[in-house]
Symmetry: C2
Subunit: 272 residues, 2 copies
């Protein structure tokens, strides 16, 4: 199956998922679409997030993808069930893998979750955790400033630390949590700062690595792995916004120059 | 879906998988069958392993399981594809999860695999690793003495260390491997001894934890999680052999007394 894996995100955060997919599935080809122009999705209504997500999905379906990874927590929270029901290809979200990793790691069943307003408001992490273990105690907190900060390229330094400290104030008062889920794929880009603020005793889980692992599991389970011996993946990256910030963030994630970026207008491309 | 998850193994090794399933999926009920009477499977022919495995599977299918976990590497190597093709329920083996974890952990792409003669002879780990990453270098070694030793209850001490040291001689000469897959579910029971012999620099991967994690992934993906709020699992454990050694090993895995063991004769129960 040499078709590509499609990856969608509201912006650059999903690149952390793409990076892990490339590392853990080196024979697979990715087609990535980041809706940087309309990022962040977090404060938007469910209806708007659903509309934008379907526009991205339609763009990728035209490219004959074999699997869809919804690398955005807000989009996962609002659309995963619907996408899984309506699409013929397997659809993986970022919420369930992070929840499962937290259940594996926590020793005292006290789990913190931080995410966008949309993700936290949806209660999707709490639902995912309870679906597996009813004894988990969840402390969920929205951090609406993180995504705009990351999309501006502020990933570390005093300004980043100040924003993280202020945002996490109420969570820092909870002395019980031993595991913190980064419930937004932008957050791994400021993971060091978050770990610094929350302290070494809390296991910080990036859902990106876990999502890539589960994508691998499902590909194999569904007999969709690319086992062609001459696999030489040529990934494609699309953004609805400016290439500058996209390339800068991508460079810091992949530690190499990426030359295959394209700006697309998906509203035009899709709503015809 | 309050049906049970069925778990089969050639003996007690699969209890390490059962333990992780109970920990990571506390709302799910397990029905375990260990073919202790005919253990080890490792030196047996493919035909014999297939016959015995199907006898175990038929025993569990009568109990209306919703998923089958083949918690035995030898049985996985010889029967997984066939079981996945012929059964209507999802079937998870122990080889692919361990292979995926090794790919996630290795930094230099040099992976060691130890297992029974049957597992190593089948080349199943090498195939599973290559299916995902062709650049992995695999050093595979059969350790036929480990399973009989574990089934006798010898898990540590000078005798165990001597057997492990002698068995791993050729692997110890390979200075490259940074990751070692325990390609047999009995081996986690002597993991400390193996880690001691192989040294701290090698990441030792127990496929049990990884298999439980992937079972959780597939259950959720297939909408088979038990989400009933009143879940109070009552696991059942069956063995074809003596209860004594089974209970002793189970006690050391679960750190609690287990009172729900039953001896069954699956040849009679199945071949009618």
């Amino acid at each position: 199956m040499n078709q590509a894996i499609g990856v969608i995100d509201s912006g650059v955060g999903g690149l952390t998922v793409a990076h892990e997919l490339m590392r853990q599935l080196p024979r697979e080809t990715l087609i990535y679409l980041g809706d940087t122009l309309r990022c962040p999705y977090g404060p938007r209504s469910e209806e708007e997030v659903r509309k934008f997500t379907w526009e991205m999905v339609d763009f990728l379906l035209e490219k004959d993808i074999k699997m869809l990874v919804v690398a955005c927590n807000t989009a996962t929270a609002f659309t995963l069930a619907e996408l899984q029901e309506k699409l013929d290809i397997p659809v993986i979200g970022v919420i369930q893998p992070g929840a499962r990793a937290a259940i594996k790691f926590t020793q005292n069943s006290n789990v913190g979750v931080i995410g966008t307003e949309g993700t936290i408001r949806s209660g999707a992490y709490t639902t995912a955790l309870y679906n597996i273990n009813l004894d988990i105690h969840v402390n969920a907190l929205a951090c609406p400033l993180f995504v705009p900060m990351v999309e501006q390229g502020i990933l570390s330094g005093p300004k980043a630390k100040e924003v993280v400290e202020e945002s996490l104030t109420t969570l820092l008062e909870d002395k019980q949590i031993d595991t913190l889920i980064l419930g937004c794929t932008h957050y791994p880009l400021i993971k060091d700062t978050i770990q610094d603020v929350i302290g070494d005793k809390v296991m910080v889980i990036s859902s990106s690595e876990e999502t890539a692992r589960e994508a691998s599991t499902i590909l194999e389970f569904r007999n969709l792995l690319n086992t062609a011996t001459s696999s030489n993946p040529r990934h494609q990256f699309y953004t609805t916004g400016e290439l500058n910030i996209f390339s800068k963030i991508a460079g810091s994630i992949f530690n190499e120059s990426m030359d295959n970026f394209t700006t697309v207008t998906i509203e035009k491309a899709v709503i015809q």
